[in-house]
């Protein structure tokens, strides 16, 4: 691409962003008198007016419980709830909508597999392969199930850069490995893992593979059929959607043979005093009143992302991350964690002599929201040899200027801590 083409493209991206920002009124708020610079998108994204409007419209026009009512409102609510499921299914390339289960989010989705699949099929001595970069959501449930079932956990070695050491694959992926569970995109390192290749190799030894897509679905086009994994978990609130809802995609035959996780109304077929039989997919895994308006609103978030365009978003992410990366690399005393190239839309870093919590507090006074802490990845912090990091994470509404502001904030923090030295 010529320089001119690049510039034109960059300009197009920019003017699009300015327009998209109009959809997010919260971006106009001020913090400590400064305009909000929201760089904590990996924790939760903001919600566009369109998605909120879909939520409100549903509540004020079609609110009823689903799957139970003969009345019109109940039918409308069910229609919209199921339409949302179809949207979500299409968004991740699920071969059938009945393989998409609405949950509260990634954490519940992974627990569902750990309880419903692993508790049924893991045998003593079996092994589960994880990576040291997992979010606690994709680590602690496996610790519990491994302890309960007498299975073992194995951890994929990492390169110093913070990517999976693929040369370890053949040693690692051997019987009795039954489950491989790993994140698609690391929420700390930004590493994008080669999930497709790992799925192929996991299947070669008969293991099942779960992918934690919490940081992937919001940012990159995901196709579960193409990846070839067995389970895929993600949350709505990181992809312009509401809190309280997320999804688990699973292979139909696996979902079929799994035990239900939570039980109650809706997920049953027949109930006697002493036993019960289960409803068909996906209802078997959706006990009780589901997050109805939230699911509808998640469908609207999918519409919104489709409207923005995942290809556009990827390009936008790439530009922002490159821009930020170059500036952070050029800044004295800044240490960046994770690979330099091919990463997700976030950068973890530390500033020499400034604890990440102090940095976050100082940046907050400038209106800049970054995250500081262990990012629900304490083992990874130990691996990195730090108690915590700062993290800036981007989304479709972020602008290069906001990265400039972040850099200024970092420089100010350095000055404050150098003051009177």
């Amino acid at each position: 691409m010529s320089l001119m083409e690049t510039t034109i493209k960059a300009n197009r991206v920019l003017s699009t962003v300015e327009k998209l920002r109009e959809d997010f009124p919260i971006l106009k708020t001020t913090v400590h008198g400064k305009p909000l610079v929201y760089l904590d998108n990996a924790a939760t994204s903001q919600r566009p007016s369109q998605v909120l409007a879909a939520y409100c419209f549903f509540c004020q026009s079609h609110n009823a419980n689903v799957h139970r009512g003969i009345h019109t409102l109940g039918e409308q609510a069910t229609d919209r709830y199921e339409a949302a499921r179809r949207k979500v299914a299409a968004f991740i390339g699920a071969p059938s909508e009945k393989t998409v289960v609405f949950t509260r989010g990634t954490t519940e989705s992974i627990n569902l597999v750990a309880y419903g699949y692993a508790r049924k099929f893991l045998k003593p001595g079996d092994a589960v392969v994880l990576t040291p970069m997992e979010h606690h959501a994709n680590l602690v449930p496996w610790q519990i199930v491994a302890t309960t079932m007498g299975a073992n956990l194995r951890f994929w070695p990492m390169t110093p850069e913070g990517t999976l050491d693929m040369s370890a694959a053949s040693d690692l992926l051997q019987p009795p490995v039954k489950i491989v569970a790993l994140t698609h995109v690391s929420n700390v390192l930004g590493t994008i893992n080669p999930v497709k290749e790992i799925a192929r190799r996991a299947h070669a030894i008969g293991a099942k593979m779960l992918v934690d897509g919490a940081q992937a679905v919001p940012h990159i086009p995901v196709n579960v059929a193409d990846i070839g994994c067995d389970f895929y978990a993600f949350s709505a609130h990181k992809m312009c959607g509401p809190t309280g809802v997320g999804a688990l995609w699973g292979r139909e035959e696996l979902l079929d043979e799994m035990d239900p996780f939570m039980t109650g109304g809706e997920m049953i077929r027949e109930v006697w005093l002493d036993h019960a039989t289960w409803n068909e997919l996906p209802y078997k895994f959706e006990p009780g009143t589901p997050p109805i308006a939230e699911a509808v609103s998640m469908g609207a978030a999918v519409d919104y992302l489709n409207h923005v365009g995942m290809d556009w978003l990827q390009e936008h992410d790439r530009q922002l991350v490159n821009y930020a990366m170059n500036q952070l690399l050029a800044e004295d005393g800044v240490k960046i964690f994770g690979p330099q190239d091919g990463r997700g839309a976030l950068i973890s870093f530390n500033v020499e002599g400034v604890h990440p919590h102090d940095l976050a507090t100082l940046l907050d006074r400038d209106g800049i929201a970054v995250r500081a802490g262990h990012h629900c990845a304490q083992p990874l912090m130990r691996w990195l040899g730090v108690p915590a990091t700062a993290r800036a994470s981007f989304y479709l509404y972020n602008l290069p200027e906001e990265i400039d502001q972040l850099m200024e904030g970092i420089r100010r923090a350095k000055e404050v801590f150098a003051y009177a030295r």
């Binding site: 400034v354 604890h355 990440p356 919590h357 102090d358 507090t361 100082l362 006074r365 802490g373 262990h374 304490q378 912090m381 730090v386 108690p387 915590a388 100010r412 000055e415 404050v416 801590f417 003051y419 009177a420 030295r421």
Partner: protein, 145 residues
């Protein structure tokens, strides 16, 4: 560049923490952790009867937790357990109201932490050394671990 929260006194304690280190034969050694922050402190006490003769602390944390720990060690050395408890309570209140309604007592260097009261999420940083010490004086009849 000067910052209202991260002022000279605070930064001085952060950079040159007083009583940093360990005691050879502490009568109490107590660990304080905030795993959610990654803060970790080890506090050694030499108590003679009811009086705290010596204190040392080590560990790592943010500027607020380190400075607060350092200031604390200066304040409590030589005081009785009862007086120390009073200071712990006083400091807690101080962090609650930002020194607005402080009693007549001069907070000394601790005054530098007044701004933390406006940062609820950072209050626990300022308190970690203090709650660890509180646990320590509560355990003073125990052997060092």
């Amino acid at each position: 560049m000067r910052d209202e929260l991260y002022g000279e006194i605070l930064l001085d304690h952060y950079r040159y923490p007083r009583h940093f280190g360990a005691l050879p034969n502490p009568s109490v050694r107590i660990e304080g952790k905030n795993p959610l922050c990654g803060d970790e402190f080890l506090i050694d006490l030499n108590l003679e009867g009811d009086v705290l003769r010596e204190i040392r602390f080590s560990g790592r944390g943010c500027a607020i937790s380190m400075a607060s720990a350092s200031m604390m060690t200066e304040l409590v050395t030589g005081k009785s357990v009862a007086e120390i408890q009073k200071w712990i309570d006083r400091f807690r209140n101080f962090l609650r109201d930002g020194g607005a309604h402080r009693d007549e007592v001069d907070m000394g260097d601790l005054q530098a932490l007044a701004g933390v009261a406006h940062l609820p999420v950072r209050v626990k940083c300022a308190l970690i050394a203090w709650t660890t010490l509180e646990e320590g004086i509560g355990q003073r009849k125990n052997e060092p671990r």
